[in-house]
């Protein structure tokens, strides 16, 4: 036990001497969480729509004002048609509205392959009705009386008649992740980076292999098992430190309510074991430190994407979601959703924890096998 702890301590010190590791463990996830929170922080209650208006008349101008105040669309102004079309094709805006001079029809543009044109059309039509009251009334009356008289009468009427209003209310509660953008950014970046760092730890292990550290432990009275448990403990401790920093930041700076602390703690510990074991496995099979890094970064990113740490798996199709659930990331994200949004405790995430524990045990066994084989055969 003491020998294992001593090993863990040495590994821990070595880790803190490595500036890249420090950067990607602590600084990068914090920077990413901040950026994601700040860049995608807008509410999801409005559809982003691009607006193009070269020479709008008075009616067009009031339509633009109405759209800017609309509850349904979030209007961004464009001056260049090419830019608007670009963003529509990319889907960064749901569609475009072109308001020409009064008298010409307003155009609503959507992407060829997308659906949802009807939503924008309905919204723009409703806004058109809202700004048309005066014009339509004047137009109707001026058939019978002079225009000036019609205008005066309509303006009088507009001041007298109380409005027809719309009152909206929402049922149920908004969940924490929708209310607080950081509440989804923190756990997803945490799952992404704990795993990525775990994998990056492989590089140091390959170096140790090249220095024949593992063979030498066979000569000590403690043997390989003690050394490997110390090594594993240090990896888990680093992952736990990283988790503590990001979760602490989430609670203290962004006021996230993470829910049941016991469930959070168990989830974080099991996941840390998975990340540490995955790194030790890669460290046991990669040939050079460079190769370990060359595999670790893309593997961390790909598994993170598949597992729903870069976007929620609820937005992808059923097939991609099923493929995603071959990764521990997806099960961990499911558990976070249930803890944060549904207030689940340990019992609520039992299935996810069982699967994650399976990953942890399996990966640890593989890592011990790979490093043990290396120690015995020198390969």
């Amino acid at each position: 036990m003491r020998a294992a702890l001593a090993t863990a301590r040495v590994e821990w010190i070595r880790f803190f001497r490595d500036r890249i590791a420090m950067f990607s463990t602590i600084a990068l996830p914090v920077v990413l969480v901040l950026l994601i929170g700040l860049s995608f922080g807008q509410s999801n209650s409005r559809l982003p729509v691009g607006l193009l208006s070269e020479n709008p008349g008075p009616l067009g101008t009031s339509l633009i004002n109405e759209l800017e105040q609309s509850a349904a669309v979030d209007v961004t102004l464009y001056t260049d048609r090419r830019d608007l079309y670009r963003d529509i094709r990319m889907g960064t805006v749901g569609g475009g509205v072109d308001v020409p001079a009064d008298g010409s029809p307003v155009q609503v543009y959507v992407q060829q392959a997308s659906s949802g044109a009807g939503v924008i059309l309905s919204t723009v039509n409703a806004a058109a009705a809202q700004v048309s009251t005066r014009a339509v009334a004047v137009d109707v009356l001026s058939g019978d009386v002079p225009v000036a008289r019609a205008e005066a009468a309509v303006d009088d009427a507009l001041a007298q008649v109380p409005p027809v209003t719309v009152a909206a209310r929402s049922l149920g509660a908004v969940n924490e992740m929708e209310e607080n953008r950081f509440a989804s950014a923190v756990p997803s970046q945490l799952m992404l980076f704990v795993f990525l760092n775990g994998l990056l730890g492989a590089s140091a292990l390959v170096q140790a292999r090249q220095l024949r550290v593992f063979q030498r432990t066979l000569a000590t009275p403690h043997g390989l098992g003690v050394y490997l448990s110390g090594l594993g403990a240090s990896r888990v401790a680093i992952a736990l430190l990283q988790s503590a920093i990001l979760l602490g930041l989430g609670v203290l700076s962004f006021g996230i309510d993470f829910g049941n602390p016991v469930a959070v703690a168990v989830l974080v510990v099991v996941y840390s074991v998975i990340a540490g074991a995955a790194g030790m496995l890669l460290g046991g099979i990669a040939k050079t430190p460079g190769q370990a890094v060359a595999v670790a970064v893309p593997a961390g990113i790909v598994l993170g994407m598949l597992g729903g740490t870069m976007w929620p798996l609820s937005v992808v199709g059923p097939l991609m979601s099923r493929i995603g659930h071959l990764t521990p990331q997806a099960w961990a994200m499911d558990a976070w959703n249930q803890i944060i949004n549904d207030g689940a405790g340990l019992a609520g995430i039992a299935t996810e924890l069982a699967v994650l524990t399976g990953f942890a045990v399996g990966l640890s066994a593989l890592a011990v096998w790979a490093l043990g084989r290396h120690a015995r055969t020198g390969r």
Partner: protein, 384 residues
């Protein structure tokens, strides 16, 4: 001199092509990542909203409104009547409707009497967009009612003879603004964004390794021996630079051709794409040479390259498509963000080479500037 430069570049190239780590980072990683993103988001933007219309008023006016709305819908939006207007909340909670527009009892009377009237919208907190859309639709209905009311009052005031005819005319009139639907032609593959983005991230690692080999060879004593031969330090440095440039351009071009011809991701005008690739590789190579030139040790250069690469990737938008806010402004201050904006102009805006010249020139300026400073610093190191 050019012969030695070429020999050094060719030797370095041969070594790079044999290195499996380079193959993973230069080809496999960006293509696999782009395919994953493509599989996740290949179908483009989609939105489907079902809005219920609940008529609790059952007056002539409310019946007419409901009739007008139900079945009007369109692409991505559908309206249907709610059978029992008393159980609107249950219908929303069960998910039968994303949101419901309710015409409460007494609406028709209030409208005719010229009194304040109100339409209700009921939605689910978990689907705020549907609620907002229903709210906008209800706003349109409210505006039509208001038009009829205002016309009635104004017709009386102006002394129009047949007030009822005026109201009917007002109700039948289309809005003063007509709305038409157009379509933006051409499609965009998310792969044409993530493949170059990821390729540039990994290029930092690959090119950084190549640039650092100069420092490593000096430490191993290879470099002094080369310099003992009639070879100038300049040709050694130029050879290395040519090597990293060729590796960079080859790998990005391969990623482009494979995602384009193999997986149908159109990056846009081929001439423009190739020029942007060369400009982006120049900038990344320049920055790598600068880092290597000014770092004190090989380890320091390695650490700085990783940190710079990841920071640029994050700030340049490598991981996100369509960020707004800070990220959207920041990306143009990074070389990969600049290059990505050029790639997007080529693929999504369908620009030609001329359209991306500003980014190309900026990237080349960054590349040549940083490479010159880096090479001068490296030359001093080589000679020392």
């Amino acid at each position: 001199m050019w012969r030695t430069t070429w020999l050094i570049a060719a030797l370095g190239l041969r070594r790079s092509l044999r290195d499996r780590s380079i193959l993973i980072q230069a080809l496999v990683a960006p293509i696999v990542i782009a395919l994953v993103v493509g599989a996740a988001f290949g179908s483009g933007f989609s939105l489907n909203v079902t809005i219920g219309i609940a008529d609790a008023d059952r007056s002539e006016i409310s019946t007419q409104i409901a009739k007008g709305l139900v079945g009007s819908g369109g692409d991505g939006i559908a309206f249907s009547a709610v059978g029992d207007p008393q159980s609107v909340e249950a219908a929303v909670e069960s998910g039968s409707y994303d949101a419901v527009v309710v015409m409460p009892a007494g609406l028709g009377e209030a409208v005719l009497a010229g009194e304040a009237a109100q339409l209700d919208v009921v939605g689910a907190a978990t689907d705020p967009l549907a609620t907002s859309v229903a709210q906008a639709v209800a706003g349109g209905v409210a505006a039509e009612l208001q038009t009829a009311r205002v016309t009635a009052v104004a017709a009386n005031q102006a002394g129009v003879e047949d007030v009822t005819a005026s109201i009917q005319k007002a109700v039948a009139s289309p809005p003063a603004i007509t709305v038409e639907q157009g379509e933006v032609d051409g499609t965009f593959s998310v792969m044409a964004y993530f493949a170059p983005g990821m390729a540039m991230l990994f290029l930092f690692f690959i090119i950084g390794d190549g640039a650092r080999s100069i420092v490593a060879e000096r430490k191993q004593g290879t470099l002094p021996r080369i310099l003992a031969a009639p070879v100038s330090p300049t040709s050694v440095l130029l050879g290395k630079t040519a090597q990293v440039m060729v590796v960079g351009v080859l790998s990005m071009t391969a990623v482009w051709l494979i995602t384009w011809l193999g997986f149908g991701a159109d990056w846009g005008d081929p001439v423009g794409v190739f020029v942007v690739i060369v400009a982006a590789v120049t900038a990344i190579a320049g920055i790598s040479l600068l880092i290597t030139g000014f770092a004190r040790t090989e380890n320091q250069a390695d650490a700085l390259t990783t940190i710079v690469a990841l920071l640029f990737a994050v700030a340049g938008g490598t991981f996100f498509l369509g960020a707004t806010g800070v990220l959207n402004t920041m990306r143009l201050f990074t070389p990969n963000g600049l290059a990505l904006s050029a790639f997007v102009d080529l693929s999504a805006a369908q620009s030609g080479l001329a359209g991306v010249m500003p980014q190309v020139l900026l990237l080349l300026a960054i590349g040549i500037g940083t490479a010159t400073a880096g090479l001068l610093a490296l030359r001093n190191k080589v000679l020392s």
